[in-house]
Amino acid sequence: MARAVCLDDDGRSCENQVGRSASSWGGREEEKLLYAGCDLGVATAKVAVIDEEGLLAFEILAYSGFPQEAAAAATERALARVGVPRSRLKRYLSTGFGGKAVPHSDGAVPDTACLHRAVRMLDPRVRTVVSVGGHSFSVFHIRDDGGLGESAITDMCTAGMGLMLETVAVALDLPLDGWDPGVQRPGQVPFIDNQCPIFAESEAISLVNEGHDRHDVQAGVTAAVANKIAGLTRRLGVRREVAIVGGVAKNRAVVGLLERNLQLGFAGLSGMDPQVVAAYGAALLAQEGCSLDTERLSSSVSEHLRRKGGS
């Protein structure tokens, strides 16, 4: 299958070139071993399906109901795209907020381990990974020897996470990624101090009531989020190359502000959808762990964590 069709987080259909021709796939289906990873987040389920040669298909499914059902549905859709039944999956690992809840998973792995594995595969030059999702935010280093370096995770507060962009976009009735350079009036963008979505929402509404343009207010909130992300990244240390992954990496406004703030350009990660990187990493770990027994797999994961904690 040359193309994988998926839905982006607005539910629109988009096509993703996965760089594989149908002929490379056809004919020897029975011999191919497939692996998959599922990254079950708070608002979206991401699934990547791979074989030894690389990514075959992926799926990003926004959900509001039960996380388990979303994970199962996303997996079904990704497999349907490859055109194989679930039984063809040799191994299937899960990660993310709901990693432990994913049905039929062969094991839940930490998201940092998945991101580390995926980024190593996509661009070995990367030394700093910034991961920002709707409800997650972390930064970690990759050492020159490829091991997991130091990391910084914010998990007590939503500051810097994509949720704030979403909350304010809904409150202002603007698209989430409504970044239009033509609309920006730098002198008019209000400074937003709040990092809590609850306060930022009421601050944004107050600013509009005071006569600020909605786009300017959104730009102010975007800058607040970008500043928070840049702040944590700087605190850990900016080591090039730097990659940004997670749903927020698709927000051009945040990425643009971050690149300006950190004075760099983010690594391209071979054109992979930044939202699906953790799921891809889980699939890669599934592939590597496939020849191992469960115990050895979990020890390889704890090796990742040990390196992380030890450095």
Binding site: H135, M156, C157, L163, I198, F199
Partner: protein, 271 residues
């Protein structure tokens, strides 16, 4: 001497009239878009109910949104001062007032005369507010008013480890999927909010007695959690907690007049 207090809130506007140490009457109306309109509404209703005219009131203080815009007020005070004075006036032993509102949460310390000593307020984080309780209750699938009674039935209360109410919402959903008891989760929700409020109280310097006012006072589970953290039983204020700001404003107006009268009798300038 008759004095009045007028407390303009975002949702409701409250008025109270105090005569010689007794609350003579009170009124609550829905706020309008202009603070002046809301204040006029509540005073008209209050005076109408009591059969009084504006001229009979010796002194009126305003507080709340647009407190400096109210034309008939003789002065205005911050909500924090009014809340502290009101609670201490109603229960004289009170030295610390916990005011748990919708979007804010304050710990107010007052002296024996009800004057403001110090206060702490959440500024950056919504943890500890009514909004936090509301969001987490929604995740649990109950109304915020049910949290208190439900949490008292907990057998094995859950310890939530994140202060953030948004992240705790996810935690609540996860716990529900795991099949944990709803009462235990409700107790965990009240506990995490109480912990945030406790930090404010510790920071401002806890001095007993402690009164809990605002929406927080209506959640019995939250009050019990707070008492566990603070190591002391809280005192209840014998009026609708919503009215404390307006009563405090009326009492502060009386304080002002009393001082002025005392000043005049000594021949000094009015204070």
């Amino acid at each position: 001497m008759l004095t009045a207090g007028c407390d303009v809130g975002a949702l409701t506007t409250k008025g109270a009239i105090v005569q010689d140490g007794v609350v003579l009457g009170w009124a609550i109306v829905l706020s309008r878009s202009q603070a002046v309109q809301s204040a006029t509404d509540v005073m008209d209703k209050l005076l109408g109910d009591l059969g009084l005219s504006y001229g009979r009131i010796d002194h009126i203080f305003s507080t709340g949104y647009g407190r400096n815009l109210i034309p008939f007020a003789h002065g205005n005070m911050s909500e924090i001062s009014c809340h502290g004075r009101g609670a201490q006036w109603l229960v004289p032993g009170v030295r610390t007032v916990i005011d748990g509102g919708g979007q804010d949460c304050k710990a107010i310390r007052v002296n024996g005369r009800g004057a403001l000593v110090d206060f702490r307020m959440n500024t950056k984080c919504a943890a500890g507010t009514g909004k936090a309780l509301e969001l987490m209750a929604r995740s649990l699938g109950v109304d915020v008013s049910e949290l208190g009674p439900l949490s008292l039935q907990a057998k094995d209360p859950i310890k939530m480890n994140k202060p953030c109410c948004i992240l705790t919402q996810m935690e609540v959903k996860r716990l529900l999927f795991e099949g944990r008891d709803r009462a235990d989760i409700a107790a965990g929700i009240n506990d995490v909010v109480a912990r945030e409020i406790m930090h404010l109280v510790r920071d401002v310097g806890q001095e007993n007695d402690i009164a809990v006012t605002g929406g927080a006072a209506k959640n019995i589970g939250l009050v019990r959690s707070l008492e566990r953290y603070l190591g002391v039983a809280t005192v209840s204020v014998p009026v609708d907690p919503q009215l404390i700001g307006a009563i405090g404003a009326a009492v502060l107006a009386a304080d002002r007049c009393g001082r002025a009268a005392a000043g005049q009798s000594r021949g000094g300038p009015p204070g």
